[in-house]
């Protein structure tokens, strides 16, 4: 019996997921829906093995896995729409890397508008452009339901992506969301020509702060030293440039990002809110957020963070064997 998968979305994330699903070798059937009929049409042309559907209801009917392949800012709206037709047995997969106002994590957003419980997060250093390169890839897959992780593994069977399972959905989502704030800081640092040492210091601090946020929300400390934390930081932020780094660089050059829906921008604001509420010490995050308010302060903000003593990452105790 083929594994029925519904994919919802038509943007960049949907493109990545579509490439991933196209590479799968298992017996899967993908049913696609996007809000925009033209996007649906184009997706259909690019991925002819996917069936096209005119409604969420039609696409998700009898689906075992529902992939909400949309960015954080669109998640609630799409999940609410899906919630109208969701059934309690479905596995819901998302790959959002951001947090909403009040630092509400993506799985909580889905949980808040649907009956779905078996929610799975895809995190870690997975990049769409690497799919199809033939290289081995890795990602973190997090859910509190082992059964749901098994379903996602069956879905991606035969792809070059090795999935590393964890139950720590909070940790993976926090690391993912905060990684975009690190990327903004890293871009700012580059544009200001603060040097490699400063960038390394800022990224390390970023990881410590992400862990601090994660622990406050009930995450496992080990997650931040794993593939969703360090595993993403090393390949993604040190050696590559991407949207957030570019945005960070523009910010440091004085361009305002006001009104931006970049996940790093919304996450930075939400994290400041959380930090105030929970009394968390997050100087880098505050520096990024204050620069977002006033781009002219970029250098002063980063330098004030660099002048601080660096706190240590809370590393998990090694298992006794």
């Amino acid at each position: 019996m083929a594994l029925e998968i519904a994919m919802i979305g038509g943007g960049r994330l949907a493109e990545v997921m579509a490439r991933l699903l196209s590479a799968a070798k298992g017996d899967i059937r993908v049913r696609h829906w996007a809000r925009n009929p033209e996007v649906r049409e184009k997706f259909g042309e690019r991925y002819p093995s996917f069936s096209r559907h005119d409604s969420v209801q039609d696409a998700t009917k009898n689906a075992r896995i529902v992939v909400l392949a949309v960015p954080t800012h669109a998640l609630e709206e799409v999940a609410t729409r899906y919630g109208e037709v969701a059934t309690a047995d479905q596995v819901v997969l998302h790959a959002c890397r951001g947090a909403g106002p009040g630092f509400v994590l993506p799985h909580k957003v889905i949980r808040g508008v649907t009956c779905a419980r078996k929610i799975v997060t895809l995190g870690g250093p997975l990049h769409g452009r690497d799919l199809g390169s033939g290289r081995s890839l890795a990602a973190a897959v997090a859910s509190r339901f082992p059964q749901a992780i098994d379903a996602v593994r069956a879905m991606t069977a035969g792809t070059p992506v090795k999935l590393h399972p964890t139950q720590d959905i909070v940790g993976v989502e926090v690391a993912g969301a905060m990684s975009n704030v690190w990327a903004l800081a890293s871009g700012m640092s580059d544009a200001l020509e603060l040097g490699d040492t400063a960038r390394g210091l800022l990224l390390t601090r970023g990881l410590v702060e992400a862990q601090r946020v994660g622990l406050a929300l009930g995450a496992d400390a080990a997650t931040f030293a794993g593939i969703a934390g360090l595993g993403e930081l090393i390949p993604r932020k040190v050696s590559s440039m991407e949207r957030h780094q570019e945005a960070g660089a523009e910010l440091a050059r004085g361009k305002s990002l006001a009104g931006s829906i970049l996940e790093g921008v919304t996450t930075a604001h939400a994290a400041v809110e959380l930090s105030n509420k929970r009394r968390l010490k997050l100087p880098l995050l505050r520096a990024v957020a204050s620069t977002l308010e006033n781009p002219a302060t970029a250098r002063a903000a980063l330098e004030s963070v660099l002048a601080l003593d660096l706190d240590d990452l809370v590393l998990p105790r090694p298992a006794v064997r």
């Binding site: 919630g83 047995d89 508008v113 009956c115 419980r117 509190r144 339901f145 082992p146 059964q147 009394r279």
Partner: protein
């Protein structure tokens, strides 16, 4: 049940001789320090089992296992006599007074005309009609907070007053030590839980018993805190074992195709203005914060005079015990409507059977999956407890005085402040009024947004009246009052008790939070603060 458990032991888990050897080990270790008639009989039983296990064939091992499970089951189940239940319940609330009198056989013999009526003191509120309606649609699992050994009786009374049929409930073995109360408790549906028994097989038998009663549509009561709150705070973390029995029973009901397969979880928060065993409980909490504590078997509940003094002083002061029934939920933590339909967060009806089906749509139990559902239910129940906690004058007064002591001893860790006291042990009455005023404002705002409940007597009261009421209550029951007024100053005369009563406001984030961190940890199981 015995056959079912034996079958399970044979088909999964370690070999039978290991299961039996483990049972013997755990029981003999328990009996090493246990005395009394029951312990003597148990010693004989286990010696015999051990002797026969030595040379046992597979068949004999099976028989021995049946015997052991039967032994445990017999102790757990006791005898339920519908006639006794009928007699007690028909007589109505006064008979429950009689039940309370049972803690003192002397009083029973001497007549109980002067015994106070629970009707005046116990206030039932919340979603009672909802719970009653759901009782017609499926099986109820009532999950109350646990403050005192009186809870079983208060809850029994509440069920009766609500007009619900008898519930089955687990009660600590120590509650049965009084033959009179033990007799009534068994016949009001109580089964025994011996928390000293550490044998995993015993826990299996206990869980199976609950499961089977639930599958047979017997409404159950579990105290999900596992034991009485030692700190005085509302439970922040629950023992999920028995709570999870709801999902297993639901799956079994679906498999068997029973007409009403649904189960509903009904949290209930008990709020006391004064707690009978406050002194012993808080002492135990402080003695061993963060570690597993011993089982208290000789507290105030075992002293009939204390129980009587407590109840009479409670009632003479027009004190209240609130039983607040929270919104019912399904075993997955979803809210349910009056017809028993589960609702998603947007109010849409959910087909919950799909939460428990496998890839082929067949209902199955899955330990990992069900543990996660149960964890979520636990979170929802904890939220309900906090929301339906009724704050009274004693709690607010204690919080205000304790908060001021913390303020004046800012560097002192909570444990030292409570145990040894700080440099400042008394505070100005006017300051207490001001702190109470601030607390009342915060609590009223929380009550308005339905995040806590307030005793109507403090809803609009002036701070001066709340403090006076609090002091009056503290003075009348406890050996040493938590706080005492001397002129224009208020003294912390029993810091343990002060801490105990102030803890009832932990988790609400009210003053002295957020300037100071909570006095208890986030899950309210150990100390917090600084």
């Amino acid at each position: 049940m015995v056959a079912q458990l034996v079958r399970r032991a044979e088909t999964s888990g370690p070999p039978l001789d290991e299961v039996l050897a483990e049972a013997i080990y755990h029981e003999q270790r328990r009996l090493h320090d246990d005395h009394g008639k029951r312990a003597d009989a148990d010693r004989v039983f286990w010696r015999d089992i051990k002797h026969r296990l030595g040379r046992a064939s597979d068949r004999t091992q099976r028989e021995l296992l049946e015997e052991v499970i039967g032994h445990y089951a017999g102790e757990i189940v006791g005898n339920f006599d519908p006639k006794v239940y009928g007699a007690v319940t028909k007589a109505g609330p006064p008979a429950l007074g009689l039940l309370l009198n049972a803690v003192s056989p002397k009083r029973l013999l001497g007549g109980f005309g002067s015994f106070p009526s629970l009707d005046d003191a116990v206030i039932l509120q919340g979603d009672i009609d909802h719970a009653k309606k759901l009782e017609q649609q499926g099986t109820l699992i009532l999950v109350p907070t646990h403050m005192s050994n009186l809870d079983s009786i208060i809850i029994g009374f509440a069920i009766l007053k609500m007009g619900l049929p008898p519930f089955i409930y687990g009660a600590g073995l120590n509650l049965f030590s009084n033959p009179m109360i033990g007799y009534f408790m068994h016949n009001l549906g109580a089964y025994t839980v011996d928390r000293k028994k550490t044998d995993p097989l015993y826990k299996d038998v206990l869980k199976s018993y609950c499961g089977i009663t639930l599958e047979n549509d017997y409404d159950n009561i579990f105290f999900p805190g596992g034991t009485r709150s030692r700190s005085g705070a509302v439970e922040g973390k629950l023992k999920l074992g028995l709570l999870g029995a709801g999902i297993s029973a639901y799956v079994e009901n679906l498999k068997r195709g029973v007409p009403k397969p649904k189960l509903f979880i009904v949290p209930a928060t008990l709020s006391y203005e004064l707690t009978l065993e406050a002194e012993t409980l808080i002492d135990d909490f402080l003695k061993d914060v963060g570690k597993s504590r011993y089982i208290i078997s000789d507290d105030e509940f075992s002293k009939p005079k204390r129980v009587f003094d407590f109840l009479t002083s409670l009632l003479s002061l027009e004190s209240r015990i609130y039983v607040t029934v929270s919104k019912p939920m399904d075993p997955f933590g979803n809210p349910v409507d009056l017809e028993g339909n589960s609702l998603d967060p947007m109010g849409r009806i959910i087909d919950t059977s799909r939460y428990v089906v496998d890839d082929h749509g067949v209902p199955v139990t899955d330990e990992a999956r069900d543990a996660e559902y149960t964890r979520e239910v636990g979170e929802r129940v904890v939220e309900s407890f906090l929301r339906d906690n009724v704050i009274m004058g004693t709690h607010v007064t204690a919080r205000a005085v304790f908060g001021l002591l913390r303020k004046y001893n800012p560097k002192l860790p909570i444990i030292r402040l409570v145990r040894a006291g700080g440099q400042h042990e008394d505070v100005e009455l006017l300051e207490v009024y001001a702190a109470v005023d601030k607390l009342l404002a915060e609590l009223r705002a929380l009550a308005l947004s339905k995040n806590v409940r307030l005793d109507p007597r403090i809803e609009r009261a002036r701070p001066e009246d709340v403090v006076e009421d609090g002091l009056r209550h503290f003075a009348i029951y406890h050996t040493t009052p938590a706080v005492t007024r001397r002129g224009d100053r208020v003294f912390a005369t029993d810091r343990n008790l002060l801490f105990y009563y102030q803890n009832r406001l932990e988790g609400l984030g009210v003053w002295p939070e957020p300037e100071m961190s909570g006095a208890l940890s986030k899950d309210r199981r150990t100390l917090g603060g600084s």
